[in-house]
Amino acid sequence: MVRTSVMFLLVLLFAVAPMASAEEITYRDREIDPLTEECLDCHDGMTNTERRTLEDMHDEKVLKHGDGRIWCHDCHNADNGNMLLSTDERPVTWEKSDELCGKCHARIQEDFVLGIHTKWLGGWDKPKVSYQCVGCHNPHDPKFAQIKAEPVPLKNSGLRPNRFKKKEHKGESNAGH
């Protein structure tokens, strides 16, 4: 009996440990949509939990997240003026959205807290500043967006300069004749 309760305590400790350090994370400054200050203006007491295509407002919010398995209110708190996001029925602020994501992506959120699935700024020996999940993933269309790649390295990179240039010149003058 004693042993099981010790085990239980240990499990509890381990389960809580990453959360504890989550409190200490400093987030990178980020532009949040100014609309997030105004949700309550319209949503004070107005919620419709029915799953539908939105037309009167937010019509650009077509969820490309979770193959139709999730809906706005899995992330947006229906009872809290839609101002906050919720995990385990607990309201979460816009700044702490990683705790929301952790609801369904638990392993990734653990990695996030430890500095693995995220990017830390500052320095290895300096106070750390973290990206947020939504700094890299759009919550409504979360696939990591493709970006343009930097140029392909030159084929003669690191070799003697002009190695291929002479040939080119020859080719040009030949073409002229």
Binding site: H117, K126, F144, I147, K148, A149, S157
Partner: protein, 314 residues
């Protein structure tokens, strides 16, 4: 080419022996010399300077001050050359998540900007420390099949794995063993394999010895426009190089010995690059090691790299 370079260097060494301390070096050491005179003697002092590792702290500071004068004049800006040693109790390790690297090559160019590599021009080659290679498909990793010149415009293109490769800062560096003049050696503290460019004779034995193709040679005078020159440098790190010397990644020692992240880490948009002190149990690199299986490239060669790879998607 190699022969002339080497023999030219031998005669330099011989001259040094003949002249000994009684010669120009001795004259330089006299404290009463005016600043103008010191400046005039700079090129001579550079010619006769000894191996950086063998210098006393005082000599090191004198040396970097001399290079600061030289580079500040050449690039017309205030150039700092640091001689900072490794931080005690620190061993640097790099970890890279190849499961999530998107192959954008931002690290390659961020590195070039930070580390004053030669930019391509008519007379000089393009030098990059980081090679990103791509392996198509879902097959297990095989470097022989990977392509250095993949032309993906928008990345990532899945299925496909992108693998950035740079100096692996081996614990048993074959390059350092191959160097006939010990111009390249491993720091016993933080473990960075460093180069005294002024001691390098340009024989390129180290390049042949490196199994990771991490070293680059300056065939021509490096092309570094003054505007692009990064003035925060380290003597063994990113100070401007000259024709005929070998260079490579040094974990951005001018940054990392100040507690910062390397430039490649800083510019990466995905967060797949992890850097830190492996002796610190709270560092990100230790967390990765505790949670994921890590591996190193060409492990069977026994080079013991300080650069690890892992995949957090598997």
């Amino acid at each position: 080419m190699q022969d002339t370079k080497q023999s030219g260097c031998m005669s330099r060494r011989k001259a040094l022996k003949v002249l000994g301390t009684a010669g120009a070096v001795g004259a330089l050491a006299q404290p009463a010399m005016a600043a103008e005179q010191v400046k005039a003697m700079d090129p001579v002092a550079e010619f006769f300077q000894s191996h950086f590792r063998d210098m006393t702290t005082e000599e090191k500071l004198e040396t970097v001050a001399r290079f600061e004068r030289k580079y500040s004049k050449k690039f017309e800006k205030d150039v700092k050359v640091s001689a900072k040693d490794a931080i005690p109790g620190v061993k640097f390790v790099y970890m890279l998540d190849i499961g999530r690297c998107i192959g954008c090559k931002k690290c390659v160019y961020g590195c070039v900007e930070e580390n004053n590599q030669s930019r391509p021009s008519d007379n000089s080659s393009q030098i990059q420390y980081i090679r990103v290679v791509k392996q198509e498909g879902d097959e297990p990793l095989d470097l022989d099949k990977a392509d250095h010149y993949y032309e993906d415009d928008m990345v990532p293109q899945r299925p496909g794995t992108y693998i950035p490769i740079q100096c692996q800062q081996c614990d048993h560096p074959p390059c350092a063993q191959a160097c006939p003049v010990q111009a390249t050696w491993k720091d016993k503290g933080d473990g960075v394999v460093q180069i005294d460019y002024n001691w390098c004779i340009g024989c390129r034995f180290c390049m042949a010895a490196c199994p990771y193709q991490a070293r680059r040679f300056n065939w021509g005078e490096p092309h570094l426009p003054a505007d692009d020159m990064n003035p925060d440098t380290h003597y063994l790190g990113n100070r401007p190089r000259m024709k005929g010397v070998v260079e490579k990644c040094h974990f951005c020692m001018q940054r990392t010995r100040e507690g910062l992240y390397p430039a490649c880490h800083e510019v990466c948009p995905t967060g797949v690059r992890k850097f830190g002190n492996i002796l610190d149990p709270n560092s990100e690199v230790r967390q990765v090691m505790d949670r994921y299986k890590v591996f190193r490239l060409k492990e069977d060669l026994g080079t013991e790299p300080s650069f690890f790879y892992y995949s957090s998607t598997k």
